[in-house]
């Protein structure tokens, strides 16, 4: 009997949380117009969310590209198709790994930091203090951070793909002896701007939106204690990873399912 009671209670509380999250999202989106009046708030967040993620994204991209170059070469050389290494590296980066791995790293690097920051602001009653001074904390604190995350994600994902393709080229043509011209020309012949690159950018925009939303909401909704903030940070990373991978499947099925 108790089991069913708990089941009901947890279902109900998760729906309540979803409702709070949606309300929070509407409030946050409404606050974006006030960020445009104060672009300096956005710049500061772009620095802490985007610029500070730059290094981890580019280094991870380089290594992912190099690994793809190695693995791809060993498989493709079995079929005597080493020349298509560029296509394989670029297509897998632009379509999948670029947006997904960037979003996962972004959730770990920037999302957790956002949650912890907002959660601590709540725990030290800074948010309540702002409300006392008739400053809407959502407009002043949340919206600039959301916009910064939303704008940084596509840029970071594009950077990741680029660095990865160059990493694949370094390994493929430098180490394994694939022809440099074939690497690029096969890539250009087989990758479509609309079908591959734009779809990858759309994916990263969606992931940026969802990751920033989850991170900020978990921080804002956290229990204002040390333990509560630590749990909220964990939930940010876990929930972001789930939603990124789940959404990735849906988006891939929608974008590439018909051909």
């Amino acid at each position: 009997m108790e089991f069913f009671q708990n089941l009901g209670a947890s279902t109900r509380s998760s729906f309540t949380k979803l409702g709070r999250g949606s309300y929070f999202l509407v409030h946050l989106l409404a606050g974006i117009s006030s960020v445009l009046v104060r672009p300096r708030l956005l710049l500061k967040q772009l620095h802490s969310v985007g610029v500070l993620s730059f290094l981890i994204i580019s280094i991870s991209g380089l290594f992912v590209g190099m690994v793809l170059g190695l693995q791809g070469f060993y498989i493709l050389s079995r079929f005597g198709a080493e020349e298509t290494l560029g296509v394989m590296v670029a297509a897998s980066l632009v379509r999948e790994l670029g947006p997904v791995v960037t979003a996962l790293l972004f959730a770990g690097r920037a999302g957790s930091a956002l949650t912890a920051e907002i959660g601590l602001m709540k725990a030290t009653e800074q948010l309540s203090g702002m409300e006392m001074m008739a400053i809407d904390p959502i407009k002043r604190i949340i919206s600039p951070r959301f916009l910064a995350g939303f704008l940084s994600m596509p840029l970071l994902a594009a950077l990741f793909s680029c660095v990865g393709i160059i990493g694949g080229q370094l390994v493929g043509t430098g180490l394994l002896g694939v022809d440099d011209g074939a690497y690029w020309s096969q890539m250009q012949a087989n990758l479509d701007f609309q079908g591959d690159i734009i779809n990858g950018v759309i994916k990263s925009i969606v992931f940026g939106f969802v990751t920033s939303w989850i991170a900020l909401f978990e921080g804002y909704d956290s229990i204002p204690t040390a333990e509560g903030v630590s749990r909220a940070t964990t939930r940010t990373v876990v929930n972001s990873a789930f939603s990124i991978l789940g959404l990735d499947f849906i988006l891939t099925a929608l974008m590439f399912g018909d051909n």
């Binding site: 500061k44 940084s152 594009a158 793909s161």
Partner: protein
């Protein structure tokens, strides 16, 4: 809030590098740069089998890309594949008795349409139809015919042997 110039510069560099990578992806990685916004004219060819030809496949003459496939439809009356192609307007001096063939680039490569010039003094123009077409080579069909033929030859040889014994 103090004006932090280094921070502004870093943000500017970050945004610039992000946009630069988008450009790199667009121009260097995908086929956007070979996409011509120039004027094109449309010609139609009918194939009894267009094989693995796809929309956006290349149309080439003498190995040079001069256009792309615009649409491929099936004509339910003649059971033919109707391939519409956009040809770059600068190549408007193709003879109107040119022939179109579907070829494969390399053994496992993509299929493309190859135009071979004829000897006519009139040129292909917008809406022209190409009369002489060669269908795609379907590997399975060709293999099937080859096997059938070799089997038949073998059988023929056996028959001869048998008759000679008689």
């Amino acid at each position: 809030m103090p004006h932090n110039k280094t921070q502004d510069t870093l943000v500017g560099l970050f945004v610039a590098s992000g946009i630069a990578s988008l450009f790199f992806l667009g121009l260097h990685v995908s086929n956007l740069s070979s996409f011509s916004h120039g004027k094109t004219f449309e010609i139609t060819a009918r194939f009894s089998n267009s094989g693995g030809l796809k929309v956006k496949s290349a149309v080439s003459a003498a190995g040079v890309k001069i256009g792309s496939v615009k649409s491929i439809t099936f004509d339910p009356k003649t059971y033919e594949s109707v391939v519409k192609m956009d040809i770059d307007a600068q190549y408007k001096t193709l003879p109107d008795d040119s022939s179109a063939s579907v070829f494969t680039a390399g053994l496992l490569g993509e299929q493309y349409v190859s135009l071979d010039g004829g000897g006519s003094d009139d040129y292909l123009k917008n809406g022209s139809k190409i009369e002489i077409t060669n269908s795609a080579l379907i590997l399975e069909k060709a293999l099937g015919q080859f096997l059938f033929k070799s089997a038949e030859e073998k059988k023929g040889g056996d028959d001869k042997k048998g008759s000679s014994k008689k």
